[in-house]
Symmetry: C2
Subunit: 348 residues, 2 copies
DNA sequence: CTGAAAGCGCTAACAC
DNA sequence: GTGTTAGCGCTTTCAG
């Protein structure tokens, strides 16, 4: 592996000069720059990243801890999200480190990554109401950006779709289709988006004179199987719903199946909506009415925010360790609440 | 951040001794070891990985380059695969670096990762007939392990399900159900598993006196949409199939939809099989008959192989750079061909 | 059993 | 403009 030293030897300059020439330092003669770069080129020089990182005291790496167990996430969704993160990170010269949390020690992995200085910042997703990850990182001043807001925390960067508004759209849509008995199936209320959406749905219905019956709420679902089970229960209710709002597409698929298995005609006898608009949503039968989340783009945005945060921190501590008074201001620029779209298909 | 130096200062020993004590070097007094470890513990010492890596000249990191564009892969499948890799890597103290290839420069990213010494080895998946990635890595002696065999390359570690045998099972199953007009929809033949499975299907059918009509082969599909389109074409054929073999589950879903949209009763009037057994396969309607691939476990296995390979290389070049004569032998232990299972559900 | 010194490859402060 | 020196944090000879 060719190093600066090798080049230095070959062009008969010092290692320092070579380093500077490569960096394009202004106080190196044009001539030297040319010579050095040429040599580097033909020798196939590539800097040793570990050496650079050791010296810079930064890892140029962004960390993502994958949700505990596949159960915790609509996978196709996470995959796209990751792709968005990875692409954006690469754009800015960052690597992407993906770690998998073991069941009962999600925090441990964050601590390990932090203290081993393996990453410069984290992307958080599926934020919780009182998110321990966010609290931890916040408390030690470690950069992170989240896909999703966090209750009881203000000054941190996030991107999120306005779940409340989204549910307003869903409510409006279903009511306009004549539904009055409306159910929903959602993840546990500890998952913030679940709480927000539920609240949004409740309000959206109430403002249209419809009450969201507590018995019409299936709580604690993540995937298709859960969705199926909850939908079955709902449909067996003495006063069953004519519409089911799934809080993600997988849940909605499960609900559709439950309806089908009972001989209901989806779309007419039972309406089902989802959330996310994963690729399969359009390909399901019937195609799913759902709230679109441009998940890859969201991954990119949240990554940009994170990188901003990292570099801001770096430039600050690099200078004097002083935290600018305008912290709150600069952060607020990185709080994005996206306006969602409802994609209407044949499941409603 | 606490360093060896800090500990050394505190316990009044040299940095060297502290390092050795922490490493559990036998020639350090019990007493010193105790003292040092205690101090390290309470000071919250964690080694700086960049420093370790620079000095060890290894990154303790495994690289995975995600397939170009989401189109290239059944995503839920890739996600699980990645999880298997990540978990196994963590088990052995390796990090997982995930990179995303841009459209026309997949090789570039491999080169970059190699020359920047960012990873110690790669996991390859969806191998191609004449896989450029494998050839490149092989030619420079860089460790890798593949999910899938590679035509024209022998001595490298891989894990694969026996696609030929799998198709034998599928053929047997369909024929035993009375099908004689059987079609299939597969990815391009440059994808090795596609070639292998197609060959297997052809043979499986022929040995039962059935010819695989070239017009019954839909070529170049990856996802549900492609599967749908090809299935439509097949079903519009003057002599349409009564069974369609999808080369992955997404393709099969597409075929099921195409059949449904034509009013065919899936399972009786049109049989459809898949491959992979992604979680959704059991939840589709009708549930999909498919060949099971324990993808997460495969991820773990292939990662183990890779780590073996890395460590073997390291111990060799570490000693004298000599390659043992038994290379071929040790590699062959890492060539696993798994026996697949057919999961029969209602789509056939 | 312990420590001093060297070095992994790179960058940066400080000369000349 | 360029070189010398120092240092990032760690491991590893080589001496004692």
């Amino acid at each position: 592996m060719v190093t600066l030293k090798d080049i230095a030897q070959k062009v008969d300059r010092s290692v320092t000069t070579v380093s500077r020439a490569l960096a394009g330092c202004p106080d190196v003669s044009k001539e030297t720059i040319r010579i050095v770069r040429e040599a580097a080129q033909e020798m196939g020089y590539v800097p040793n990243s570990m050496a650079q990182r050791l010296q810079k005291q930064s890892s140029d790496t962004i960390g993502v801890v994958a949700p505990v167990s596949s159960k915790g996430y609509a996978e196709p969704f996470f995959c796209e999200f990751l792709a968005g993160i990875g692409e954006q990170a690469a754009q800015f010269g960052y690597d992407l480190l993906v770690a998998y949390a073991q069941e009962h020690n999600e925090m441990g992995i964050y601590r390990k990554l932090v203290s081993g200085r393996k990453v410069d910042g984290f992307i958080l997703s599926r934020t919780l109401v009182d998110d321990p990850r966010a609290h931890y990182l916040h408390s030690i001043g470690f950069p992170f950006a989240a896909f999703g807001r966090i209750d009881g925390m203000q000054d941190y960067p996030y991107v999120e779709e306005d779940g409340e508004y989204a549910m307003e759209l869903v409510a409006e849509h279903l009511v306009s289709r004549g539904h009055t008995r409306i159910a929903c199936i959602c993840p546990p209320q500890s998952v913030l988006y679940s709480k927000v959406r539920l609240e949004g749905l409740r309000r959206g219905l109430e403002s249209r004179g419809i009450r969201l019956d507590p018995e019409m709420i299936g709580m604690g679902a993540f995937d298709q199987e859960d969705g199926y089970a909850h939908a079955c229960t709902l449909l067996e209710h003495p006063h069953p719903p004519t519409a089911i709002v799934g809080f993600n597409d997988l849940i909605a698929f499960g609900a559709i199946n439950a309806g089908k298995d009972r001989g209901l005609r989806i779309g007419s006898e039972l309406a089902v909506t989802g959330f996310d608009d994963i690729p399969m949503a359009a390909m399901y039968r019937p195609p799913l009415t759902t709230v679109r989340q441009p998940i890859k783009e969201i991954g990119q945005m949240v990554t940009s925010s994170l990188i901003d945060t990292i570099q801001e921190k770096y430039s600050k501590t690099g200078r004097d360790g002083l935290v600018a008074e305008s912290h709150q201001d600069t952060v607020s620029h990185r709080q994005l609440l996206l306006r969602p779209n409802l994609v209407v298909r044949n499941s409603t």
